[in-house]
Symmetry: C3
């Protein structure tokens, strides 16, 4: 790219925002809708377009992107994951929360979302959930936004 | 970093590209190879090196990175996910597509790929699939590329 | 943003680092802790804050973020995934490694981590694992870091 010789070019620096979001869960297993909290962080960041990574540093929790319209679906997610990873299985890890680690591995600790016009790109029925599998606990998410 | 005093420096701005990719699926469950479509978006973007996020705003669909050499494998993926999440389970969510939400949660709505030399970094047998779990439908993916 | 007219502005360019990490696995199924290797790549890159994508180009392997404190947990992950995807199932894909593809799809080929103060953001008990499901083999990971 040729420089505009003799002219100073304004430099738009990339902007990022790293946010720690506290979450209090109230049951052993909980699917907490955190969409509005992330939308607020995106809006407050002033970043118009970019990427948003939601990361849980907890190994018995996960981040899920799925439907947030029907609360009944959470019961189905709970039953489904319980069937795959029963809480009372014959586990070598004897902290009593092995099922929670397995569920966390299936759903995943990190998800990348897109930001457009100061909002998350999400489908009509789509939300972001913090999945607690070994609660109730106080949790700290990391949410990082990178501008285009 | 010290400025080159008295000299104007050319500024290479970061470049991004957000693309909406239409997908038409033809069966209830389908693993549609979208690798060549994403490669075309990467090539058209002019971005040489960077990141590529593939995101589905649909909650009964997912993005999968896996082998695209043997079509028989799709049948195995279908059977495997059906066994984990049967279509006729005892579900609280009564839209008749609860299994599709569960499969979507397992495979994931968002995947991050790497771009090098105007191409996706992929293994020899590796491709990117749009996973339809509640089709046939018309779907709109979001594909965003960020340059280094 | 208004330019500082008549003054040359130092330009801090974004920095990225793409690293190929060789992995040698020693069993058919193995959960190899690669946290210290990624931390070294982050430290060597000189990038203070940013994003780190860990990607496997292999379709019978995956990247897992979970507890790295109790080695017994690996046995549980192995048993769990074996139960979901038995090695001797009735599969259409007849390479003898169909179970490995299914496990890879569940855990995922790509994970995005956050970098702060030249280190990965990880919980106290959290690590990054290369999951081998069809070893022993020599594998090549791609690890890319993007500065803020």
């Amino acid at each position: 790219m040729a420089p505009d010789v003799g002219k100073v070019i304004p430099v738009e620096r990339r902007r990022t925002c790293l946010h720690v979001q506290e979450i209090q869960t109230r049951a052993r297993v909980e699917f907490q809708d955190i969409t509005s909290q992330i939308e607020k962080i995106v809006a407050d960041s002033g970043i118009r377009d970019g990427f948003c990574v939601v990361f849980t540093p907890h190994t018995t929790a996960a981040i899920l992107i799925n439907e947030n319209a029907d609360p009944a679906l959470h019961k189905d997610f709970d039953n489904f994951l319980k069937r795959l990873a029963p809480s009372s299985g014959d586990y070598a890890h004897d902290d009593g929360n092995c099922d929670a680690h397995l569920k966390s591995a299936l759903i995943g600790a990190s998800k990348t979302l897109l930001v457009e016009n100061h909002r998350l790109i999400l489908g009509t029925w789509q939300g972001v959930f913090f999945c607690e599998f070994d609660g109730p606990r106080r949790r700290d998410l990391r949410i990082k936004i990178l501008s285009d």
